[in-house]
């Protein structure tokens, strides 16, 4: 419940305030969102597994976002930004899919 409220507050704040993203941060925002999505789905699965932990969630969220952005930044500097982004998206995508599959099994018991 408290999680849903937090999410709602965040989305509303984002939509109402519409913060301006600095131009240097713009390329990393989408990949950061995907990384955050992975952390959130992981947390949801852990919650349903009964092993959720606040600290682990915070750490995994922050580190996911930072590492994803860092990889893209590094790739941009090395001239392989596009390829590295693809790699990050593929790995995170696989994780998201398998986490969602686990969540689905928890909810529908199927």
């Amino acid at each position: 419940m408290i999680a849903a409220i937090g999410l709602l507050i965040g989305v509303l704040a984002g939509l109402l305030l519409q913060p301006d993203v600095p131009i240097w941060l713009e390329p990393y925002l989408p990949i950061a969102v995907v990384a955050a999505l992975d952390a959130v789905f992981g947390a949801l699965r852990a919650f349903l597994d009964g092993i959720f932990d606040d600290k682990v969630f915070v750490v995994s969220f922050v580190s996911n976002v930072l590492i994803a952005a860092l990889i893209v930044y590094l790739g941009d500097k090395l001239g392989v930004g596009g390829q590295l982004s693809t790699g990050v998206i593929v790995v995170l995508g696989i994780r998201i899919f398998s986490n969602v599959a686990a969540i689905r099994r928890h909810i529908f018991h199927a």
Binding site: G14, A32, D49, I51, V62, R95, A102
Partner: protein
């Protein structure tokens, strides 16, 4: 399926009797994709809950607290910002595309106008040149020479009687043997030149001394323009003799042979044909006559 991989993966089941201490770590044995799928949940969750169970911590803190809520709020802001940013950028790129399109159209209009102006000026130049030449006897002879050379070089359009040869592939031709090839058209055009044609054009492409009839893939090109069958070769010259004379040339004989393969080869005389001028030939070399030099 996916969640059970923990149990199914042999590398993750500990305590197998055959396994030695030097067993490589699971990520080395499993393959990348399997490993990613198997560890899609952060291992820290299992690790921490294991630790807690071991230390006998019974205060089950399994619900997200204020910190979790804050992080989720941050996540919400992140998602909303990314979405807003993307839609904003989409607007921008759409409007910039529209402005680019209008710029392209405006430039195309300018180009059209300038082309028209150039054509008008070209006509004016020709008219002035003709008037200048017609005003003197020397000029008139020069003009007639110019006209003759213009017809021969393909610089000007040519009009007059002549023959029209229509050739085509054999009906339902499958193999190249029964199709018109570039060398066949070359022989035909050369034959027409041999029998005294003053101007020759293939499907409206005027042939000059710089023209090439070539195979380009499956099509034949003349002046680097693709031609489609049937090929109409028009030649201005003496209509009474050219048709008959053509059959005596090697080109005509080649076509007599090809005709026996079923290829179409019709020669007609025409009273009045108009062959267009060849594409403007760029002047590459010129010199002033000796006597005009100071």
């Amino acid at each position: 399926m996916v969640a059970d991989t923990h149990a199914e993966q042999p590398a993750l089941t500990p305590g197998s009797s055959r396994r030695t201490a030097q067993e490589p770590p699971p990520q080395a044995v499993m393959g990348l994709l399997n490993y990613i799928t198997a560890t899609s949940l952060d291992e820290d969750y299992a690790h921490v809950s294991e630790q807690r169970r071991r230390s006998g911590d019974v205060t089950q803190k399994r619900r997200p607290g204020t910190v979790g809520m804050a992080v989720l709020a941050v996540f919400g802001v992140l998602v909303a910002t990314a979405a807003v940013q993307t839609s904003r950028n989409a607007d921008q790129s759409a409007s910039s595309r529209a402005s680019l399109v209008s710029q392209v159209n405006a430039r195309a209009d300018v180009l059209d106008r300038q082309r028209t102006t150039a054509q008008e000026l070209q006509r004016e130049i020709t008219a002035l040149g003709d008037a200048q030449l017609a005003s003197t006897t020397e000029g008139r002879s020069l003009e007639s020479r110019l006209n003759r050379l213009g017809v021969l070089t393909g610089a000007t359009a040519a009009r007059g009687p002549g023959v029209q040869v229509v050739v085509d592939d054999a009906p339902g031709a499958k193999s190249p043997k029964f199709m018109v090839q570039a060398p066949d058209l070359q022989k035909l055009a050369n034959g027409l030149w041999t029998v005294g044609a003053e101007a020759v054009a293939v499907n409206g492409q005027r042939l000059t001394s710089l023209s090439a009839i070539r195979d380009a893939g499956s099509a034949i090109t003349a002046n680097y323009v693709s031609l489609r069958p049937p090929y109409t070769v028009s030649a201005i010259g003496n209509p009474k003799r050219m048709g008959a004379d053509l059959l005596d040339t090697s080109g005509g004989q080649t076509w007599a042979t090809l005709q026996s393969f079923g290829l179409k080869f019709d020669v007609n005389t025409e009273d009045n044909m108009l062959l267009p001028a060849a594409k403007r030939v760029a002047l590459r070399y010129a010199h002033e006559p000796e006597r005009r030099r100071p």
